[in-house]
């Protein structure tokens, strides 16, 4: 049934685009246009070489691909933007253990992804639950954790955005979602200035979560309120490494 729908929708699109006949479509295995169908008259068919032909289009308009901030300016910008969207920002160099211990000291149990440097939790006296493949915490267990501590893949200064990529230090998506308190470590080397630089560093095939401040809503009179379903407290530790 859906196969028929597929053929028909693709045929409709071809017709809508004025490609001849309207009955031609492309299959998912052979990605070409309708060259083999009725002899094409150059005037009436949009010849399309497929997606590759237009690869450069978007980049041509001349928007910035790199920002101008570097060094301490870059870090300051990130801090400014994080604070603006109500994240708490801390700085550490070398070992963030002490800062982490201070931030999660009130919790009895926290969860960390398996790849997180375990020495960072050395100063914490409560339980540290390690979430790892085959030994994932259940949703209820996650709900019982006071906090989650993770690293991050990239931070975009201009927008105050931290990206988690499902790696062994960012963790599986659920662990940074269910606990109400997220402590996230951003290494200074992972900070970029603007969005294009951030996107360039990411792998599309990973589960990606962009986080800009704690969860929020503007649904009531378009007034921004922080803290809804995601973690209501976001602590960011900027780590000189």
């Amino acid at each position: 049934m859906t196969d028929t729908a597929r053929e028909e929708i693709l045929a409709r699109i071809n017709e809508a685009l004025g490609r001849r006949g309207g009955g031609e479509y492309v299959s998912s295995t052979v990605r070409t246009t309708s060259a083999s169908a009725a002899p094409a008259n150059a005037d009436d068919v949009d010849t399309t070489d497929g997606p590759a032909a237009t690869e450069a289009t978007a980049a041509d308009s001349g928007y910035h691909h790199e920002g101008a901030h570097t060094g301490e300016d870059l870090v300051d910008l990130l801090i400014d933007r994080l604070v603006d969207y109500k994240a708490n920002v801390h700085r550490a160099s070398g070992d963030p253990g002490e800062t982490i211990a201070e931030l999660i000291g009130d919790h009895s149990s926290v969860v960390v992804p398996r790849g997180l440097d375990e020495t960072w939790l050395a100063g914490f006296s409560g339980d540290v639950r390690v979430d790892s493949p085959g030994e994932e915490l259940s949703v209820d267990e996650l709900d019982a954790q006071g906090a989650v501590v993770t690293a991050s893949a990239v931070a975009i200064a201009q927008t105050g955005t931290i990206v988690l990529d499902g790696s062994s230090t960012s963790g599986r998506r659920a662990i940074t979602l269910v606990p109400d308190h997220h402590v996230c470590i951003v290494r200074t080397g992972d900070i970029v200035d603007i969005v294009p630089e951030g996107i360039a560093r990411l792998d599309a095939h990973a589960p990606l979560t962009f986080i800009s401040g704690p969860s929020a809503t503007s649904d009531i009179e378009l007034s921004r309120v922080e803290g809804v379903h995601g973690p209501r407290t976001l602590d960011v530790i900027i780590l000189e490494a």
Partner: protein, 508 residues
């Protein structure tokens, strides 16, 4: 088959052959009538006026932070045009990549087909609860709103819980969305408090503070998030190159739905594709700033099929046509499909600000709705032909559109389509007046002759201003006066001056 020596023209009228969309995209009552009751609602005017003026200034502020904003808009426009021109290829590419990553794709020609597919998937994957019904959680999605999915599921014994705060307000209030970003924009905090107190039995005593109301929603939905097996979402973007889907949100309800359930069903219009993952560098700047007026929204999630050990393992996508191909066939209107649903156009629209979204009768209100709804259905469908006239053509929408959809131009185009489609033998007074004016204004001499009547008209009206006119002109004089007609037109004065050889009026 081609006729000898005669190249086929691009199918200018192909859209008339393609089926229009169905569902919540038709206006049952013409806009002028539908808007009347809303115009006199003081509460509505206050709520929408306050909300839209707030978001306008937020948007203006964050947009002004980027010195390459116009170039980003150009890139956004070019990229979406590229998608539409190569849509079959990009869909095929997307399908291959999404499938390779373990996702399952379904194609739906219209609302009925999409609803049936989703129903079957839910029945296969969500358990029947003690109540005898099944449950799903939902992330806000325009596509599912458009096809009336919730109503359909309900009839099939499936309760769909909206988890976006505004959608929750709408659902609990037994109401309809009136805005694509903030569906409950027509409600203020006091009304929301009342709805929550009434419909959330365990909420207890609430104040009208937004923070308190948000907290109530968190408690209300928490258990559902942690236990429901099937989630339904929309998608803001589908990346052809990689088969990646993305949802842009704020509250974390999206992350909950996309991460915790075992089965994820996404419904996405076929036009939502972007060619490359790298294109997000443009769209993740355009969308949040245009939409919520933030540099970046709190959460954005991207997933590509399924990930072992992380998130839903049963991942489906329904690709929806429902009139999109018909819109695509309209070469003067197809850029409406470039819309990324930011809602900036409705936030700046002086008409929307006064009528609210319900007056548009469609899931898509405001300026974009006034073009998109009739493009999806055809201007002939019910009262959708009245929507292109629901604009003063002030152009504020075009100025803020992040992908530069020339909404005013498409509105005018669709008025032309409506004129073509309207074969009513009895022409209205306005039609007659315009026909007469066309005849007169097609020739300066006729205009001169007509204006010779001015002294007479001036006399008939006693040189007085005009406060009351009959017929269609009465629509004007119902709330406006008209100046007295001058005794002579400029043309006559000019001719007299030329004849005199002097130019007393014109001299310094």
């Amino acid at each position: 088959m081609t006729f000898l020596g005669m190249p086929l023209l691009r199918s200018k009228h192909a859209h008339s052959d393609l089926p229009g969309g169905q569902g919540n995209i038709v206006e049952a009552e013409a806009f002028p009538e539908a808007s009347q009751q809303h115009l006199s609602n003081q509460q509505l005017r206050n709520n929408i006026g306050h909300a839209t003026s707030t978001i306008r200034s937020k948007r203006a502020e964050v947009v002004s932070e980027l010195d390459d904003w116009e170039r980003l808009r150009d890139a956004g426009e070019a990229t979406k045009n590229e998608v539409m021109e190569n849509l079959p290829e990009y869909l095929a590419q997307f399908e291959a990549a999404f499938t390779a990553a373990g996702g399952i794709i379904h194609w739906a020609r219209d609302a009925d087909e999409a609803n049936a597919i989703v129903t079957e998937l839910v029945e296969d994957n969500a358990p029947v609860l003690e109540s005898g019904r099944r449950e799903v959680i939902k992330v806000k999605s325009m596509a599912t709103q458009e096809i009336g999915l919730n109503e359909h599921l309900e009839a099939e014994g499936i309760d769909a819980f909206e988890t976006d705060l505004a959608e929750l307000i709408v659902q609990l209030g037994d109401d309809k969305p009136s805005h694509i970003l903030v569906p409950a924009i027509h409600r203020n905090r006091d009304e929301i408090r009342e709805i929550f107190m009434d419909k959330m039995p365990d909420a207890g005593q609430l104040t009208n503070e937004p923070a308190v109301l948000a907290e109530a929603a968190r408690k209300h939905l928490r258990h559902k998030f942690l236990t429901t097996k099937v989630a339904i979402s929309g998608a803001n973007f589908g990346i052809a190159e990689t088969g990646t889907l993305g949802v842009v949100e704020s509250e974390g309800n999206g992350r909950m739905c996309l991460t915790l359930p075992e089965t994820l069903i996404t419904v996405m219009g076929i036009e939502k594709l972007l060619p490359r993952f790298a294109d997000l560098e443009v769209f993740l700047q355009l969308l949040p700033r245009s939409s919520t007026g933030e540099r970046m929204n709190p959460y954005t999630s991207f997933w590509t099929g399924k990930f072992e050990g992380d998130g839903p393992q049963n991942v489906h996508l329904v690709l929806l046509d429902n009139g999109r191909t018909r819109a695509l066939a309209d070469e003067h209107g197809r850029t409406a499909l470039n819309c990324i649903r930011c809602s900036a156009c409705m936030n700046v629209c002086p008409v929307y600000e006064r009528t609210g979204g319900h007056a548009y009768g469609s899931t898509y209100p405001g300026p974009i709705g006034a073009i998109l709804s009739p493009l999806l259905t055809g201007v002939e469908d019910e009262a959708n032909g009245s929507l292109p006239y629901a604009s003063s053509l002030c152009g504020a929408c075009y100025d803020v559109c992040p992908v530069k959809i020339n909404i005013p131009e498409i509105l005018v185009h669709l008025r032309g389509e409506d004129v073509k489609a309207n074969h009513s033998p009895v022409s209205s007074q306005l039609d007659a007046a315009l026909t007469g004016a066309s005849w007169m204004m097609s020739d300066g001499k006729r205009m001169t002759a007509a204006e010779k009547g001015l002294p007479l008209a001036h006399k008939v009206t006693g040189g007085e201003q005009i406060n009351d006119l009959p017929g269609i002109a009465g629509a004007w004089t119902s709330s406006r006066d008209i100046p007295a007609l001058p005794e002579k037109s400029f043309r006559q004065l000019w001719a007299e001056e030329e004849a005199d050889g002097s130019d007393e009026k014109g001299q310094r």
